[in-house]
Symmetry: C2
Subunit: 73 residues, 2 copies
Amino acid sequence: MLLSEFVKEKRNAAKLTQPELAEKAGVGLRFVRDLEQGKDTMRLDKVNKVLQLFGYQVGAIPMNRNLLPDEKG
Amino acid sequence: MLLSEFVKEKRNAAKLTQPELAEKAGVGLRFVRDLEQGKDTMRLDKVNKVLQLFGYQVGAIPMNRNLLPDEKG
DNA sequence: ATGTATTATACCTTTACGGGTATAAATATA
DNA sequence: TATATTTATACCCGTAAAGGTATAATACAT
């Protein structure tokens, strides 16, 4: 599970558009777009602001385990 | 468990100096310093390069759970 | 105490992230 | 089909991240 997919799924589950998510998270629309598009050079604090909206946080995860916080569907 | 502490602990456990970690991870020394100093505006890909050296990856973690991948000591 | 190794802080430059916006493409909905 | 909504791509620009290096501070020896 990529971070980009994770955010996209969470956003859709919350029935938010990208502009709505951007505003609620306090980041720019461009950032949300880039993040969901899989750009991996984003800034940690901005990613955190988005994740925190869904009750998540950036952290270190063992590589053999699943990146996804198992609630895929 | 903050990401900064996590990296510092892992590095010490691996008996690496900051310059050594920087070189092995393929990032600048300044980056390792800033990361361990708790700067939270770092770039995701750079943080990933460091974490991958220890078999970890950046991912989304539920905020109520512990950020630390429980092996603190 | 002195000396060595490691880490923290400060300064400078280059680079590109992030914001804003416009436009194109895609996805509904009727 | 056409229309409306959402998302993707492209552009410009200010600002700060990242790197390099020098110096100060700290830790750890002896």
